[in-house]
């Protein structure tokens, strides 16, 4: 492609490419920075996309690239699939979408390393390149199969419950050591095809075995960690082809993914080790867990009553959970909130960090229903305000408002940060039944004097509430 350029430019072309990479690096850093604030996030993402575009275009001038037919065909094909998936996906299905994109990214890094290994005579590849080829294959393959297992679990193709066998962790540990040994052996004797394929195969298997014992509810943490891995895999691929832009962007994503994983674990009151090796938490889909105590009484309420209480309040806080999204009730909720605001009631949304199916997911779902983001409050912001709140509407959420997390050291959710809804004058829980949430723990909030239960599907109960509000 560089043939048409004058010889003087051709001679400095490698340096020019590097300079453009430097510019792209800067664009990525600014882009990620802007992704950190709601007002600038969209432009940040677009900047990052621009950085990527520049990187791709300038790489096409690389002197190693001679033919373009595979490149064009691959890009057209991949872009069509990616664009179709991105346009079609439901916002509720975002966790599995990210998982599968991530899998392809990690897989690509492994395949690039495979290509580099195949391209040259094995004995002609420098030792340091062999190390990074091996690591790229290893990390990329784990990301690839691990992400697809996570996708299957989120989608329900594979049971969300932990799947383990005796000695699972020890076996995985041995496999990990084995793969590292194979990377070493490949470096020592690169001519052995067997070593290469053993490494590739075991790494793929390791991805499956690492993710399959993890419960469906922990998948967001896993995806975030695998996202970090795919960054590192990209970085390793950068070592292989000696490309700074790859090394830097991969490292940025690797580090960012680790931080994000850590934030999520904190919000779920778990350590990363516990998530990866603890085999805790199914998807709550099978079995209803222990039934609630029957001798305790709850106060059931009616749409008219809820409408009356809310309409004459000064401040109402809405605490949505994933049950809201399952019932596709975000739009009706927005309608209820609008009606209350027209009456002069101050309405805020209190969002727990792990509300929805992955951290920050609830914010996306509410944004889809046109709820402005400045009405959404993080847990730390909203918790001090419950004392002066008249009514809290808890819709499809359970564990994140369970006071047991503060009061009972023996409980599995003890220590998890929760929304202090019991400090409000009145709470109303919108819920299908009294069954406990995925953690399988009974919720004492339901039996409190200040609490009322509004039983039914979130969408139907909110619709009847909206209707009742018209008549108040």
């Amino acid at each position: 492609m560089s043939d048409f350029l004058p010889p003087s430019i051709q001679s400095i072309l490698p340096d020019l490419i590097q300079l453009v990479y430097l510019v792209a690096t800067g664009i990525f850093i600014i882009g990620i920075k802007r992704l950190g604030s709601p007002a600038t996030a969209r432009s940040g993402n677009q900047l990052a996309a621009l950085g990527m575009f520049i990187g791709v275009v300038v790489t096409l001038f690389d002197q190693q690239i001679i033919t373009y037919e595979y490149i064009i065909a691959g890009i057209v094909f991949g872009a069509a699939i990616g664009a179709y998936a991105a346009k079609k996906v439901e916002m509720t299905a975002m966790p599995e979408m990210v998982a599968i994109f991530n899998g392809f990214g990690g897989g690509a890094s492994a395949v690039v390393a495979w290509g580099e290994f195949t391209r040259f005579e094995a004995s002609a590849i420098a030792t340091q390149d062999l190390v990074t080829i091996g690591l790229s294959i290893l990390i990329g393959s784990i990301t690839f199969t691990g992400s697809f297992i996570a996708f299957g679990k989120l989608k329900g193709f594979i049971s969300g419950n932990p799947i383990t066998f005796p000695g699972h962790n020890i076996f995985n540990g041995l496999l990990t050591i084995g793969t590292l040994g194979l990377v070493g052996w490949l470096t020592y004797d690169p001519t052995s095809q067997l070593t290469f394929w053993l490494l590739f195969g075991i790494a793929l298997l390791l991805g499956v075995l690492t993710v399959i014992p993890i419960g469906g509810a922990d998948m967001p943490v896993v995806i975030s960690l695998l996202n970090s891995y795919s960054g590192i895999a990209a970085s390793m691929a950068g070592f292989v082809i000696n490309n700074n832009l790859l090394i830097i962007s991969g490292a940025l994503v690797g580090a960012a993914g680790l931080i994000l994983t850590n934030i999520m674990c904190k919000a779920m009151n778990r350590t990363l080790g516990n998530v990866l090796f603890g085999a805790f938490g199914g998807d709550g889909g099978s079995g209803s867990g222990p039934a609630a105590d029957t001798d305790k009484t709850v106060r059931e309420t009616t749409p008219d009553d809820v409408a009356l209480q809310c309409a004459y309040s000064d401040r109402v806080v809405i605490v949505p959970g994933y049950g809201l999204a399952v019932a596709q009730a975000q739009h009706v909720l927005k309608e209820v909130a609008d009606k209350l605001e027209k009456r002069g009631v101050e309405v805020k949304y209190g969002i727990h960090p792990v509300a929805g199916r992955m951290p920050g997911h609830m914010n996306v779902l509410l944004a889809e229903a046109d709820v402005p983001y400045d009405q959404l409050y993080d847990m730390e912001q909203i918790n001090p305000e419950f004392k002066s709140t008249d009514v809290v509407l808890i819709i499809g959420a359970n564990d994140v408002v369970n006071p047991v997390a503060k009061t009972e050291p023996g409980s599995p959710i003890y220590g998890m940060p929760i929304m202090d809804v019991d400090e409000a004058e009145r709470t109303i829980v919108f819920k299908r039944s009294l069954s406990p949430g995925f953690a399988g723990i009974d919720n004492p909030l339901f039996y409190k004097e200040s609490n009322q239960m509004f039983f039914g599907d979130a969408k139907k109960t909110l619709q009847s509430l909206a209707k009742s509000l018209d008549d108040v």
Binding site: G31, I32, K33, G36, P38, A41, R42, A49, M52, Q64, I65, T67, Y70, I71, A73, G74, G78, I81, G82, A86, K87, M94, M97, V98, F101, F104, G105, A108, V111, V112, G115, R119, Q128, G231, A234, A237, I241, N242, N243, N244, G250, L252, V253, A255, A256, G257, I259, L260, I351, M358, P359, G360, H361, N363, E368, D370, P372, Y373, D374, D378
Partner: protein, 97 residues
């Protein structure tokens, strides 16, 4: 300084920048951030371009072709879906009647 060591320097320093960039992000944006960061990790497409465009080995070209498809799905899909999410994030005054 060998190439590997030099590259290691770059890797470690870039990691530190990554830590600093992300540590202050509000929970509101965690989902789009994860998705956007994921799209950036598709940068491995640059490696795929070189493997698919070289003429040293025909088999490597085929492998590169697969790598390009994988990486392009990640890049194009990732950036587009992130944009779709962020497009919906709106402030109150501009959007509400």
């Amino acid at each position: 300084m060998s190439g590997l060591i030099f590259n290691l320097f770059i890797f470690v320093l870039a990691s530190f920048i990554g830590f600093e960039l992300i540590s202050k992000v509000p929970p509101t944006l965690h989902t789009p951030l994860m998705s956007g960061a994921n799209a950036i990790s598709g940068i491995t497409i640059l490696g795929a371009l070189i493997v698919a465009g070289q003429i040293d080995s025909q088999i490597a070209q085929y492998i590169g072709f697969v790598a390009i498809i994988f990486a392009t799905i990640n890049v194009v899909g990732g950036f587009m879906v992130t944009d779709r999410m962020l497009e919906m994030f709106k402030k109150k005054d501009k959007n509400n009647e």
